[in-house]
């Protein structure tokens, strides 16, 4: 890819950003774990083809909010969500919505790389197979290759597709998990501190990957690293004590935030 076309892509994306197309809209979202309230009436919209970073000190509710977006909180005992979250126009907490279908549209990458104890190929093929995305072996091969290409892992693993996925390095495992999420062609990809278990080189690769994925997917990423939020995201949302403090353009957020608490957090005064 030459410089010109890359710049053109950036420009097109920026233009899109200005039009403000919302992929997901969260309205008055509150989450309770049993009696304890973890999230207080959060109103946060996720823009299409944008990387939105969620930052804030530990226990501020950013991961909780992320997990409401594909209803992963459903798997936690005693967790209750109120408010309304829409994906395009569908209310994802509506009874009509099948959570399985939702998670196929809103994929997730976790903090610790969690490849299945299967081969690399089977790790990628798992999602497409359960959703019936491939009609035959050739289709599946194509999906696996395309997904690994997208995750920038193809060149490294193409000769050992049938070896165990757990044998890869940490960074490769995380990119494998991203490829696995990409394989089911989601619209949104949620990432929960995807680099916290990786070394700086692997982190750089994953960040680069996030940057590229932005062209095709809407990405929401939780991160503890302010630098990472500044590097990969266009929009940043700051959480504190279960409340959304501020949501803004990343550039503005890190130079001239509206809220004093954001300023303090970014300057390292708390958190």
């Amino acid at each position: 890819m030459n410089m010109l076309s890359e710049a053109a892509v950036e420009k097109a994306l920026d233009k899109k950003m200005n039009e403000v197309a919302y992929k997901m809209i969260g309205k008055d979202v509150s989450v309770y774990y049993g009696e304890k309230r973890a999230l207080f009436d959060v109103n946060l919209n996720v823009r299409e083809n944008t990387v939105t970073a969620l930052i804030g000190p530990s226990g501020c509710g950013k991961s909780t909010f992320l997990r409401t977006l594909n209803r992963m909180n459903d798997t936690i005992e005693g967790c209750r969500v109120t408010g309304k979250i829409t994906l395009d126009t569908d209310d994802i907490y509506d009874k009509e919505i099948d959570v399985v279908e939702l998670r196929a549209r809103v994929g997730m990458v976790f903090q610790k790389p969690n490849p299945f104890p299967k081969s690399i190929y089977e790790n990628i093929a798992y999602g497409p197979r359960i959703h019936g995305l491939a009609r035959n072996k050739a289709d599946m091969d194509a999906i696996v290759e395309a997904s690994l290409q997208r995750a920038g892992l193809w060149a490294e693993v193409k000769d050992r597709l049938h070896e165990g996925g757990t044998g890869l390095s940490g960074g490769q495992q995380q990119r494998l998990c991203i490829a696995r999420a990409v394989a089911v062609s989601p619209e949104v990809i949620l990432m929960d501190e995807p680099c916290s278990a990786l070394d700086p080189i692997a982190t750089a690769k994953v960040e680069e990957l996030i940057h590229e994925l932005r062209a095709n997917y809407t990405i929401v990423i939780v991160t503890h690293s302010m630098q990472q939020a500044a590097r990969v995201s266009q929009r940043t949302a700051m959480f504190h004590l279960g409340q959304l403090v501020e949501e803004n353009d990343t550039d503005k957020m890190f130079t001239n935030p509206d809220d004093q608490r954001t300023q303090d957090y970014i300057m390292g005064r708390f958190g």
Binding site: P115, F116, P117
Partner: protein, 494 residues
Amino acid sequence: MSTPLILLILAIVAIVCYVVGTRHALAIAGGVSSKLHSRPGYYGTFVAICAVLPAAIVLAVWLVASPFYINSAVLGGFPEDVKAKSQAEQGLAFGMVSSLARGMDVLTLEEIDSVGADPVALRNALGAKGLPLAGDPEPYMVESAGDLNAMNKISNRVMTAVVLIVALIGAGLSYTRISHRFRARNRVERVILGALVVASSIAIITTIGIVMSMLTEAGHFFGRVPAWEFFFGTVWDPRFAAAGAAASEGQFGLIPLLLGTLYIGFVAMLVAVPVGLFSAIYMAEYASPKVRSVTKPLLEVLAGIPTIVYGFFALTTVGPFLRDISSKINGIATGDFANFIQAQSVLTAGFVMGIMLIPYVSSLSDDIITAVPRALRDGSLGLGATKSETIKKVVMPAALPGVVGALLMTASRAIGETMIVVLAAGVAARMQLNPFEPMTTVTVKIVSQLTGDLEFTSPQTLVAFALGITLFVITLCLNIYALFIVRKYREQYE
């Protein structure tokens, strides 16, 4: 002084040493325990150990060694004509002497005087005290018994004195060693470590001892019956023949018993594996914590029921039920109400044993399934897989090696199980494949070969050891293989 009394004194010494040692250590530190190398209690424990441990060892050695010495001294004092007799007769004479000695302890001095040197009167006097003798004691026996008593008394006194002196020396020496920099903790912990090592080696040494004794006896058996006739023989007919008769050889074929064992074990696993595994999946994946907290202990209660109780259940309920229902089915189908399932059958034993094994399968598998990292489940659910897809395609494959290990361990239990099969499977050693007929197992035959009045030199009895060692080797191999698999599986996640 009697041994329990000495032990009690040692215990008191230990407590006193502990208190004194602790106080002394504190006094040296001027009441500030942080000035000491170890906590004050360690100094107290150190003094107590130094006082009691060597004394206890001396006591133990003395108690073991002194009877040997005294007995040989008494035997040496027997008249020459008795010494010339056989070993067994000398043993009998010595037995008489020691019961006499015990009796003379009971009699008062006046009674001994009144009896005088008359052996018959002595026997009567002892009989009146509830100490019957096997025969009239001879005069030299009375004399030896007196010697024995005297020596025992001296030995006991010396022992008491030596033990107490050793305890005092130990206490004194260790007391003087207490100082600021003395590393009492390290020494105490070394002693504790030693105690732990001794405790764990007892189990291992006992196991080795059991195996060795089985091997020796089995060796005797194989001295009389060729090994290949045992391992490859297809007929089990040990024949309890009259002693000395020519046809008392019998046939000791292992194959029918082994087949019965494996067949019944197989039926049991057929029952236990699906039920146990499904209940494990339910408890690990679907049950709410509330349900789980009730069902899991409830299921584990099954594991605590003695197997003989399952045996009753098989004998009085399951067996007759299967027999009756088979005769009804036969009646409906053919008009002939003959039962085709015997009350004692492979099916009965296997079914009941299967029920016994359910808690093992489910409890072990439940632990293994819960050990599969939550991250794997999340990964699968996050891709839009349903819960059952996640269980089938991610959780169970990940848990499979561990589950296989658990099943192998369960199988080794099934093979070693005795009481259920004794009651439910019958004793007929046959080679056949009909699960409705009785068969028998290795364990049942071990029981039947070793019950009753039998001499421990005939192949009929010794074969039990050969069977035992065979069973031991089989279950040992299964367990080692299972452990190997389980360990390999653990490595994946840690």
